[in-house]
């Protein structure tokens, strides 16, 4: 009986050891860098990671932020596809880097690029766990709200050894947010606003509204909009609304985005449609197509600063007279990616859709 129990004990111990095995052993030497990522994980590096890989879904947010650092541009060695159908902005920034892989690549595939660190969105934990098993360091980013940008730009700066640059970038957004919030407070009566995403996938047309916690809603609210769709039950994803509902709301302003279609064409279709003409927003010319170049600007990638100002101007024009958005965009690309005005005119301006003039 005793031998039997001892044997069982050994098995239990062996299994627990294997199951509880933690591949991330702490550094015995002096750790040079410790960062806390978007999931509150502490990740330590003895040296600045030289080979950075960005993987999984939702990569455009992380990639565009990383490439705003010169060190980021040097150290990115491979990334998961960032093309949303209108071309690859990443290719424009790094034409020599063609190690692009699928968004659903496996841990093994990612490992074959020999990363020193892999950057993932916070919802890619399955993939992160697999990389953990291979002792490949993972840092999670969220970067969907203003607060997250402030925190995580600094994290990125630490990761790249350039905290100064991070502060410059963070200050850019802080300035915009401060300005907009101040001017929004001065609005006596907030107009009603509807944010619509037009999708025509699978051949069926659908108008969708975003959840209230997403960046799209947050930015419109900050700009002074009274969100009409906050009253209906919303899912954790785009919620389809039909025209009747839109007519019932009859908002003062409509912001329109279309990730996979030409937003100018879509807006024209609606403006020509007698049904939509009955809406006060369309009738009064207050339906606006959100600017889109490589990416639609309503998403929380680096351009959201311009988008924030753009919403604010549409909602509250008096406070933003003489704002030239091409100039603002120009300044953005110069600050973030070191572009000359010529480059903006050559690369972005020709493909720019939306109400930006």
């Amino acid at each position: 009986m005793q031998k039997y129990s001892l044997f069982l004990l050994l098995i239990v111990v062996a299994i627990s050891l294997m199951a509880g095995c933690n591949p991330l052993t702490p550094n015995t030497g002096e750790s040079t860098i410790t960062i806390t990522d978007a999931l509150d994980r502490e990740v330590t590096f003895s040296d600045l990671p030289e080979r950075i890989v960005i993987a999984g879904r939702g990569t455009i947010i992380i990639v565009d932020a990383l490439l705003a650092f010169p060190e980021g541009q040097q150290r990115l060695v491979a990334y998961a596809k960032t093309d949303q159908g209108k071309g690859s902005f990443t290719q424009v920034l790094l034409p020599a880097l063609d190690t692009v892989f699928a968004n659903d690549a496996s841990a093994e595939e990612i490992a074959s690029h020999q990363p020193d660190v892999v950057l993932l969105k916070t919802y890619m934990q399955e993939l992160g766990n697999a990389l953990d098993l291979l002792s490949i360091p993972v840092v999670y980013f969220s970067m969907e709200t203003f607060e997250e940008y402030q925190n995580e730009l600094l994290t990125m700066g630490t990761l790249l050894g350039d905290a100064q640059r991070a502060e410059v970038l963070a200050a850019y957004y802080a300035d915009i947010v401060t300005e907009v919030e101040q001017k929004t407070q001065e609005i006596a009566e907030k107009p009603t606003v509807l944010f619509l995403y037009y999708s025509s996938r699978d051949g069926t047309v659908a108008f969708n509204v975003p959840p209230l916690q997403w960046a799209q809603s947050e930015m419109v609210r900050r700009a002074g909009g009274n969100l009409v769709w906050s009253s209906i039950p919303l899912e954790n994803n785009w919620t389809i609304v039909n025209f009747e509902q839109v007519a019932a709301w009859n908002p003062d302003i409509i912001f329109l985005t279309a990730y996979f279609d030409n937003v100018d064409q879509i807006k024209q279709q609606l403006v020509d449609d007698p049904q939509w003409q009955a809406l006060s927003a369309v009738d009064s010319g207050n339906i606006y197509a959100i600017p889109t170049a490589f990416y639609a600007w309503d998403q929380p990638h680096t351009r959201w600063g311009i988008a924030q100002l753009w919403y604010a101007q549409k909602i509250n024009p008096q406070n933003y007279l003489d704002y030239d958005f091409h100039l603002l965009a120009n300044d953005f690309y110069a600050l973030f990616y070191g572009w000359s005005p010529d480059k903006y005119e050559q690369v972005i301006r020709p493909i720019l859709q939306g109400d930006i003039d």
């Binding site: 591949p23 841990a107 697999a130 002792s135 954790n236 994803n237």
Partner: protein
């Protein structure tokens, strides 16, 4: 005597299959996308800790999971086909797979990330699906119990599918929904040691039980009255053996999602080779299942950069194999 020679040739066949499985498993360990798509040079691994880590932490548990999954599906498929005297049933049809799917999706929705709960829910709803099917079959007022089971299986599967649809509707599209959707197509991409280790013992125990009683399992295919006079307690033993068959499937489904076709086609092929006697064909079906899933899974993870859902490959290879078997069957094995 002809009986002895049949026995020994079948035994040799089983040994051959086992050897084949061992060889394929070994090859699978050295095949993947690191450091580049194709075969991993074992000698280069000596100086490559990342490569070693991939083999040990990613591929080995995955190969083991594939083998266990194949054995569970092959074994349960054979037992189901025997019990219902119907070569067109597979382990999923009595609400086992849809139940596991529903349970896992529910757990992903409620407790996303907590794998232990996902597995538990999968097992509970999987066995629940089986129980529900058996109960409904009893309630249906008709004496043809086997036909009733087909009906109740359809009903229970439909119920769980509807529930699943609702869950997909509610799920978070960025984190939960892709997981649920991918998982429904089947895949062993999450088969790491922490998930495999807890289930190895119960799964192997269930296999052991089924193999030990494999002669008795032949009785499951008999008419109830005939089985009764052969000493088989139909009311107790039949559900018991079905449960043991289902346990392995439920546990592995909680890791691998729904993988169709294996439980259907592998027993049929095994019967072509080894006849209908569970004494040889149950182990044969299990080993064949392991080989089948192992090949599918190795292709699934190595063919492209991203994972191909296992269910897609098993359907593809399964239907091709089925076609070949049907066209070329020598014995009327179907």
């Amino acid at each position: 005597m002809s009986q002895d020679s049949t026995k020994s040739s079948k035994t040799k066949g089983l040994l051959l299959l086992t050897a084949l499985l061992a060889v394929i498993a070994l090859l699978a360990l050295f095949f993947g996308r690191y450091p580049s798509p194709g075969i991993t040079n074992p000698f280069a691994l000596a100086t490559d800790p990342l490569g070693q880590s991939i083999i040990f932490n990613l591929r080995t548990p995955r190969v083991i999971a594939a083998i266990l999954l194949g054995m569970a599906l092959g074994g349960a498929g054979f037992i189901f086909q025997q019990s219902f005297s119907n070569p067109l049933v597979e382990p999923g049809f009595l609400g086992v797979s849809p139940g596991a799917a529903f349970g896992s999706a529910l757990a992903i929705l409620l407790f996303s990330g907590q794998f232990f709960l996902i597995q538990t829910f999968a097992i509970i709803f999987s066995l629940g699906g089986l129980v529900l099917s058996l109960l409904i079959a009893r309630i249906i007022p008709d004496n043809n119990y086997k036909l009733n089971l087909v009906f109740s299986g359809i009903i229970v599967s439909a119920l769980f599918s509807a529930g699943l649809g609702i869950i997909k509707y509610i799920a978070d599209p960025l984190s939960q929904l892709p997981e649920i959707t991918f998982w429904l197509l089947g895949g062993l991409w999450s088969a790491a040691w922490p998930r495999i280790i807890p289930i190895i013992l119960p799964v192997m125990a269930s296999f052991l039980v089924l193999l030990i009683f494999r002669w008795r399992i032949n009785l499951m295919g008999l008419d109830d009255r005939v089985a009764f006079t052969s000493g088989f307690n139909v009311k107790k033993e039949k559900p018991l053996f079905l449960f043991f068959a289902v346990i392995g499937v439920a546990l592995l489904t909680s890791i691998a999602g729904i993988v169709n076709w294996v439980g259907l086609i592998v027993p049929i092929i095994s019967r072509t080779l080894f006849g209908g006697n569970a004494r040889f064909t149950l182990p044969a079906s299990m080993i064949n299942g392991a080989i089948f899933v192992l090949i599918c899974d190795t292709i699934a993870r190595a063919l492209f950069a991203g994972e191909v859902p296992l269910g897609v490959l098993s359907a593809l290879l399964g239907s091709l194999s089925f076609l070949i078997v049907v066209i070329f069957r020598r014995r009327k094995a179907l």
